[in-house]
Amino acid sequence: MSEYDPQPVSQVIEQYEARPEMLVQILHAVVDRLGYVPEQAIRQLADELNLSRADVHGVVSYYHDFRTEPPGRHIVKICQAEACQAMGSRELVAHAESSSGSDVTLEPVYCLGNCACAPSIMVDGKTIGRVDSKRFDRVLARLGGAA
């Protein structure tokens, strides 16, 4: 396992002037850079923002967006809220689970706000609508390298 490099997180903290009230925004920036929040980053954030590790851990664990494990090469979120359920998202989830490769991290999401073009998914931050299983397969095939 490679050594933890504190540099990226330090830069993020500096960008937010080490304001502890910006912790949620800071964690977003950490996930943008590293893909997740490593344990070492929690210690570093606590030290540099003058918070307790429990404070930082508490915020990290509270919010769905702050994963603590590295994700696959692509993150595919499938909306599983009511509007998409009414248009077959349960079937889409079953299809996705059986057909996605190991480089894809599947996550549930509860509403992407694209409800009139349901079912919706989000692929690496881009919302895609009117997704049936065929369109799902086409979108994943376009990711390149995905099985």
Partner: protein, 512 residues
């Protein structure tokens, strides 16, 4: 000949069904054929079922083409797109599409019309007229207009906006805040997003007016992270407005200074509850605070804070422009004005329909929505998000009136309307209501944190036909406890969808 102006929305729903690819293809085909065009990325009109909705301006009239795919573009050019030529996708002038012209577009009137990033477009469509009027008339005139309008919070709770603003205005403090709740988490709701992507400067103007009226110099927009495109549009719009001198110190020489910062949520539904949102804005876990104290007195960082939903704030500029009495002339009873209703789920013509309160659910679903997408009968309609009741087809004639909904144990909330056809398994929807609460509960109060998990278990036992009568009683008692003893609407209203299903669709539990 001048360049033909072609509009392709930059809005999330349009882009989710390939509007970007359509725009690229239009530029490519135009270049290839030597046709001079001006490509404008506008907001969406809200007719999501027609997206991507492309328009071409011909002699000042905008001709619409619906459901345009990248593969249609070459053919459209060949058929004379720039002259508004006939084509299978052609719908005619945008101003003649019944779905749009029959609406009461009070708040969304610029959505679709303009380039959301152009201050010049915004100004040309009355933008900042209301802020100028506010500066001229003074804070008291603004407060009076908002009180007179009868405007109530559009986030779902329906609290009178004027009273909230007056409370904050009358509280003495060295710093006050306007906190815009853009954590539009209810499933089936997207009107905040439509406004922020189609007319973000309207929200900015509404927030500045709120700041001027209450004495706040700083605004926050708490935007959900599920809206990355909205985030980009909103931050660019704020920068453009600041550059044009309508945000910042001493706005247009008025002596009033106001600025806005956008904060991203992080995937927590409860952060749409105003006090949880304030906690999150302060960088903490989104745990609900006990009220009182009210945020208008003791809010963000302990300072008086007006917390308003996007649509609430965006409704204000026209209230200032046209008068509170004019707004109050729309609507029924204590539900004054208009609401952008959002049609989704199993519906043929999903999208945003801004209409005066009093329109019936049937007019929205069967009129605007043209029934289910599947063509099958409507079985149930969930109104007001995941905490809203499911209404059976027999109740569709109910008027959209906040109190009329409350009277039948339902709520309008933020105006989301999700339609299910007769294949829906309502027992599963009841289970999901409890499951969603278990996933999203902030954990502060026991009825919500524990009750939701127990609720899933009890419903599973009912579905599995274990001691059904005993478990029905248990579920009812559990719902009582959650309603009576939860700290906020999350636990307090999760029983609404569950009970509505027990009442109207009990047979679905027995059919497993």
């Amino acid at each position: 000949m001048t360049a033909a102006r072609i509009y392709v929305p930059r809005e999330t729903s349009a882009v989710s069904v390939d509007a970007d690819e359509v725009a690229v293809e239009i530029a490519r085909v135009a270049k290839h054929s030597g046709t001079e065009i001006e490509l404008v990325r506008n907001g969406s009109w809200g007719a999501s079922w027609l997206e991507p909705l492309v328009e071409v301006e011909v002699d000042g009239v905008r001709i619409a083409y619906g459901n345009v795919g990248p593969g249609d573009v070459a053919g459209m050019f060949a058929d004379g797109l720039v002259e508004g030529g006939e084509h299978a996708r052609r719908l005619g002038p945008i101003q003649e599409i019944p779905y749009l012209i029959e609406q009461d577009r009070w708040t969304l009137f610029r959505c679709g019309l303009i380039d959301p990033l152009s201050v010049r477009n915004f100004r040309a469509a009355q933008g900042f007229n209301a802020l100028e009027k506010a500066f001229a008339d003074g804070p008291e005139a603004v407060l009076s207009a908002v009180v007179e309008s009868g405007l109530r919070g559009r986030g779902g709770a329906g609290f009178p906006t004027g009273i909230k603003w007056r409370t904050a205005a009358e509280t003495v403090a060295d710093q006050k805040y306007i906190a815009c709740n853009a954590d539009e988490g209810d499933s089936g709701t997207f009107s905040d997003r439509l406004l922020m992507e189609g007319d973000p400067m309207c929200l900015i103007e509404g927030m500045a007016i709120a700041g001027f009226a209450t004495g706040a110099s700083k605004g926050y927009i708490y935007l959900r992270s599920e809206y990355p495109l909205t985030h980009r549009i909103l931050t660019r719009a704020i920068d453009a407005v600041r550059d044009a001198g309508w945000l910042g110190d001493d706005i247009q020489g008025s002596g009033f200074g106001f600025d806005i910062e956008v904060h991203l949520g992080a995937g927590s539904y409860v952060c749409g509850e105003e006090t949880a949102m304030l906690e999150s804005l302060e960088g903490r876990r989104g745990i609900v605070r006990a009220k009182p104290p009210l945020p208008a007195i003791h809010g963000l960082f302990g300072k008086p804070t007006v917390v308003n939903n996007v649509i609430t704030l965006a409704s204000v500029p026209n209230i200032v422009n046209l008068g509170g009495d004019r707004y109050a002339s729309f609507g029924v009873n204590r539900s004054k004005g208009t609401l952008p209703f959002q049609l989704s789920g199993n519906i043929k013509r999903g999208g945003v329909v801004e209409a005066a309160f009093g329109i019936t659910l049937r007019e929205l679903i069967e009129g605007y929505g043209a029934g289910t997408a599947s063509g099958r009968p409507v079985k149930a309609v969930q109104v007001g998000g995941p905490l809203g009741a499911y209404l059976p087809a027999e109740q569709l004639d109910i008027p959209m009136d906040i109190e009329a909904f409350a009277d039948i144990g339902a709520m309008i909330g933020h105006g989301g309307i999700v339609v299910f056809d007769d294949t829906a398994d309502m027992a599963q929807q009841a289970r999901f209501a409890m499951e969603f609460c278990a996933i999203e509960s902030c954990g502060k109060c026991t009825p919500c944190r524990i009750g939701s998990t127990r609720g899933v278990e009890v419903i599973d036992r009912i579905i599995a036909d274990q001691d059904r009568d005993v478990n029905y009683d248990l579920l009812n008692e559990l719902c009582d406890t959650m309603e009576d003893a939860s700290l906020c609407a999350m636990g307090g209203m999760t029983p609404y969808p569950v009970r509505s299903i027990l009442k109207h669709f009990a047979e679905d539990f027995a059919s497993q």
